[in-house]
C-alpha cells in the first residue's frame, strides 16, 4: 500500500462518477468498482488489486509478462483469403475487420510467439477477446496450426490461452471447419509427444470450447472465467429455469471434473514453467533472477525462407 491507494483513491472514487472517469490514468474495476491506477493495474496483469477480479488482457501484454524479460518472437501466420463468403449483415465483413484491426492494433484475433519461460523454450498462442470477440475464423485456425507446426519443428511444448465468444459467423461454414482443422493441429502435437497446455480465460465459449480449447493434456482456467458450449442465456431460454450460482464458471467446471486447475493470473507463469519442465523431463526451474536471455534468433532474411508457408504446403 502506498499513499495513492490509501489516501488518494478513496477521494477519487467519491469525486468521479462512472462517466467522468479520466481515461488515461485510472480504470474502474468491472467487479468491485474500485478506481485503479493504470500502472498498478498493468503491474498486476489487469487483475484488480482490491477484489482479485480478472479483467481482459491483450495477447501482447500477456506475452510480455510471460516470456523471460518480455522477449519473444512472433511466429508468422499464413494469411487466409479475406471475406470468403462476401458476407454482409448490417455492415460489410471487411469493414468490421478494418474497424477491429484499428481498435486492437493487431491483424487478427490470435497472436503466436516463441521464446523462453524460466529458460524453458515454448511456443505459445493467445486469443484476443478484444478483436471481434476473439472469434475463431480461418486466421485463428491458421494461427493454431502454425503454432503447433512450429512446436513440432522445434520440439517445444505448446501453450494456448483461449478467449472467444465462439466461431466467426461472418466466415460461415469455414469458421465451423476450424473445429476439425485445429483438432488436426492438436493431434500433431500429440503424435510428437509434446505437451499441449490450455489456459482458458474469460470467456471461452461455443465452437472454441468444443474443439482445441478442451483438448489439452493439462486444462487450467483463470478464476471465474466463463467456460461453456451454450451460453447461460441460451440455456435459460431453453429450460426456463434460473441457473445455479457460479454456473459455467471456472470453479464450477473444476468441481464437475472438467478442468485440472484454476490458477490466478499472477501465479500462472510459475505454474506453467513447472508443468512444462516436468512434462519435458527437464531439471527443476531455477528460482530467483536469471541472467538475461540471449536475443531471439533471427532467421537469415532470405525471401524464400521468410515467406510464411501455408499449412497446406508444409
Amino acid at each position: 500500500m502506498n499513499w495513492i491507494t490509501n489516501y488518494v483513491r478513496p477521494r477519487i472514487n467519491s469525486i468521479f462518477s462512472r462517466r467522468e472517469m479520466p481515461e488515461n490514468l485510472w480504470s474502474k474495476c468491472d467487479s468491485c468498482g474500485t478506481m485503479l491506477f493504470h500502472r498498478e493495474l498493468s503491474d498486476a496483469l489487469n487483475v484488480c488489486t482490491n477484489c482479485g477480479h480478472h479483467m481482459g488482457i491483450s495477447p501482447r501484454d500477456r506475452f510480455t509478462a510471460l516470456f523471460d524479460n518480455g522477449v519473444f518472437t512472433e511466429v508468422p501466420v499464413p494469411k487466409p483469403i479475406e471475406d470468403p463468403l462476401k458476407f454482409r449483415d448490417q455492415k460489410r465483413y471487411p469493414d468490421r475487420l478494418r474497424a477491429a484491426q484499428k481498435q486492437a492494433a493487431e491483424d487478427e484475433a490470435m497472436l503466436v510467439a516463441e521464446g523462453e519461460i524460466g529458460r524453458t523454450p515454448i511456443v505459445a498462442a493467445a486469443q484476443d477477446f478484444g478483436f471481434m470477440g476473439g472469434s475463431m475464423g480461418m486466421y485463428v485456425g491458421n494461427a493454431i496450426i502454425a503454432g503447433c507446426e512450429r512446436a513440432v519443428a522445434t520440439k517445444r511444448p505448446f501453450i494456448l490461452f483461449s478467449a472467444a465468444g465462439g466461431a466467426r459467423m461472418q466466415e460461415g461454414i469455414l469458421s465451423l471447419m476450424q473445429m476439425p482443422r485445429t483438432t488436426v493441429a492438436v493431434q500433431m502435437l500429440r503424435e510428437a509427444n509434446l505437451p499441449y497446455i490450455v489456459v482458458l480465460t474469460h470467456p471461452t465459449t461455443g465452437g472454441v470450447t468444443a474443439s482445441y480449447a478442451m483438448l489439452g493434456d493439462v486444462q487450467i482456467a483463470e478464476p471465474n472465467a466463463l467456460i461453456c458450449f451454450a451460453g447461460p442465456r441460451v440455456i435459460e431460454q431453453t429450460i426456463r429455469e434460473t441457473l445455479p450460482e457460479g454456473f459455467q464458471r471456472a470453479e464450477y467446471l473444476l468441481d464437475h471434473g472438467m478442468l485440472d486447475r484454476v490458477t490466478p493470473r499472477g501465479q500462472l507463469r510459475d505454474e506453467l514453467i513447472s508443468i512444462t519442465r516436468m512434462l519435458m523431463g527437464l531439471a527443476p526451474p531455477v528460482a530467483g533472477d536469471l541472467p538475461k536471455p540471449a536475443p531471439p534468433a533471427v532467421e537469415a532474411p532470405t525471401p524464400e525462407t521468410e515467406t510464411p508457408k501455408a499449412p497446406s504446403e508444409t
Binding site: 465451423l176 470450447t209 467456460i227
Partner: protein, 320 residues
C-alpha cells in the same frame, strides 16, 4: 395428411381442391370430375416445379427441417440389414438423440451412427428433437473405436439443430464431448462416410460430419449457426433469418463450391418428404459410391488424407 410449409400454401390449396373433387365423386357416382381434377393436378405439378426450381436459402432451411422428411431411423431401416443398436456411453446414460450400432450395408459389416429427431410428439420428446447431450457424443466415440478396432467402415447420418443447450449437458462437459467426437473422427483408420440428410447444426454436426467424404441432400443445410440465431446477433432481429440464411452460405450447393461438401444428392421433386423411398434409395447409392474407392486404402493413408482434407479446407473462397 401432408404437412405443407408456409411457401407451399398456394400448392396446398390446389392439391386440396383436387382431393376434394375426387372425394365428392366417390360419394356421387354420376359426377365426372376426373378432367377437372387432372387439370388441377397438372397445375399443382407445375407449381411444385416452379417453387422448387430455385429455393431460397431460407426455404431450403425450412425443407431441411420438414417433419415428414425421412430421418435417420428410416434410412437405417431401409438401407441396412441386421441393424443391431449398441447403447450407452458406459459412464452416465444412453442418449436417444443419437442412434447407432452394427449393421450390414450391401452385406458388408459397418458401424452406422446418426442423429434421430423423432417423427411424432412422443418420439420427438424421446429423441430430444435430435439434440444430443454429451452421452450421445461419447456413445459415438465408443462406437467409432469399435469400428476402428475391427476394421468396419463408419457411416454417419447427420440431422440435428445442434447440441442440446441444457444445464446437465453443460455440467457433464458438452464441449469436451463434441471435441472428442470430432477428434475421434480424425483418428480412426477406417473409411468414414457422412451424409447430411436434413439439418447440419453447428458443432453438434461437426462431431459426426468430419469425414473422408461428405454428401449432402439437395435441400439439406450445414451451418455454423442457425439463421435465426445469426439474425438475432448480427441484425439484432431474429426475423431477419432470410437475410442471415442468404449470407451464411449454408446450402449444399454453396458448400460444394466451398469444398466442404463432396457430393450433392438430388432430391425428388418437392423434396425428400414427397417421395421418401426414392430419397432413401438415392442416399444408399451415394453411400455406396463414396465408400467404394476407399475400401482398398490403408489405415495410414486414410488418416493422412482425411487430415490433409481438413487442413487444406478454405484455401479457396466461393470464387473458386
Amino acid at each position: 395428411m401432408m404437412n405443407y410449409l408456409d411457401f407451399e400454401k398456394p400448392l396446398a390449396e390446389i392439391e386440396g381442391k383436387a382431393e376434394e373433387l375426387r372425394a365428392l365423386a366417390r360419394r356421387n357416382e354420376e359426377m365426372d370430375v376426373e378432367a377437372e381434377a387432372a387439370a388441377l393436378d397438372q397445375k399443382a405439378a407445375e407449381m411444385l416445379r416452379e417453387l422448387y426450381r430455385n429455393l431460397t436459402p431460407w426455404r431450403k432451411c425450412q425443407v431441411a427441417r420438414h417433419p415428414d422428411r425421412p430421418h435417420c431411423r428410416d434410412y437405417i431401416e431401409a438401407l441396412f440389414t441386421e441393424y443391431t443398436p449398441l447403447a450407452g456411453d458406459r459412464n452416465f446414460a444412453d442418449d436417444h438423440a443419437v442412434m447407432g450400432g452394427l449393421a450390414r450395408f450391401h452385406d458388408q459389416p459397418v458401424m452406422v451412427i446418426g442423429h434421430e429427431k423423432g417423427h411424432d410428439t412422443k418420439t420427438r420428446i424421446e429423441r430430444n428433437f435430435g439434440m444430443a447431450r454429451p452421452e450421445g457424443y461419447r456413445k459415438a466415440v465408443r462406437l467409432m473405436e469399435i469400428a476402428d478396432r475391427f476394421g468396419l467402415p463408419v457411416i454417419t447420418l447427420v440431422d440435428t439443430p445442434g447440441a442440446y443447450p441444457g444445464k446437465g449437458a453443460e455440467e457433464r462437459g458438452q464441449s469436451e464431448a463434441i471435441a472428442r467426437s470430432t477428434e475421434k473422427c480424425l483418428q480412426i483408420g477406417v473409411p468414414l462416410i457422412s451424409v447430411i440428410i436434413g439439418e447440419g447444426g453447428s458443432g453438434g454436426a461437426v462431431a459426426f460430419a468430419t469425414a473422408d467424404r461428405l454428401a449432402m441432400l439437395e435441400h439439406s443445410i450445414y451451418s455454423v449457426i442457425s439463421p435465426e440465431g445469426c439474425a438475432s446477433i448480427l441484425w439484432k432481429d431474429a426475423e431477419k433469418m432470410r437475410e442471415a440464411a442468404e449470407a451464411l452460405r449454408l446450402t449444399a450447393q454453396d458448400l460444394m463450391k466451398l469444398g466442404v461438401c463432396d457430393l450433392v444428392v438430388a432430391e425428388p421433386l418437392g423434396g425428400a418428404q414427397r417421395d421418401r423411398e426414392a430419397a432413401i434409395h438415392d442416399v444408399g447409392k451415394a453411400i455406396a459410391s463414396m465408400l467404394a474407392p476407399l475400401k482398398e486404402a490403408s489405415r495410414a493413408d486414410l488418416i493422412a488424407a482425411r487430415r490433409r482434407k481438413y487442413l487444406d479446407l478454405g484455401s479457396k473462397g466461393l470464387a473458386a
